[in-house]
Symmetry: C2
Subunit: 145 residues, 2 copies
Amino acid sequence: MSNAPTPAQADAEAILDVMQAFYDALEMMDAPAMADVWAGRPADVCVHPGWPMTHGWQSIRHSWRTIFEHTGYLQVSLSDISLEIGGRIARVCCTERRYSVYAPGTITSTVAATNLFVRTEEGWRLTLHHGSPVSGQRIAAADIN
Amino acid sequence: MSNAPTPAQADAEAILDVMQAFYDALEMMDAPAMADVWAGRPADVCVHPGWPMTHGWQSIRHSWRTIFEHTGYLQVSLSDISLEIGGRIARVCCTERRYSVYAPGTITSTVAATNLFVRTEEGWRLTLHHGSPVSGQRIAAADIN
């Protein structure tokens, strides 16, 4: 009897490792680490909370650089993580609790996030991040200004 | 030589048909039609603009009924549609322009949407809808109140 993980378990672990690397890159505001996480394709999609949809890795990379330049500190903790693998694409949904420091002050916010991963020759990579503000916290954040 | 669609074309057409049925059900505020569109599984996920994540079809169905009960009229037009099929899961991203009539007045809003479809024994079905408010229009909508 072997204790080796099944292919599905190995995929799930690899996907969650890439997702952890994504949130690490986000918290560290590390643009090269962020680039390593993404598939880097024209088909990649990103929606930052409150932003319109950004299509294609070149535009997405620019958006992360803009965010990193305007953020002093960012901490993210995750909950409600759910994963489904459907062949070459896998999705992980989660709730992000973000503590951010910007020029006007600090913001504690909740973000509903969908992350999609695509199986590439180099392994699983992020191909879609969709984060959306959850209303209660959006109102609280507005009180700061 | 055959003009029959390739399997990928047939899948793409079937997925976009289900997506059209989803937006038709939304505009018609038709709960049974909405139920036909979704996979109806515990793994289904829905994020309405500004809402936290709703997990599982039973809770998602309840959320649609609540929305339909509080909406007088809803019209949605789509743009920026992009599709990727990755085996058993497919994603369609798009921008929704919504014109809604609620008790306080009318709201014109833009929503960034990710829709995921899963291949079931009955064909492709919606398994994730993630809609998020785009900020400019959110501010405009707040002016109504």
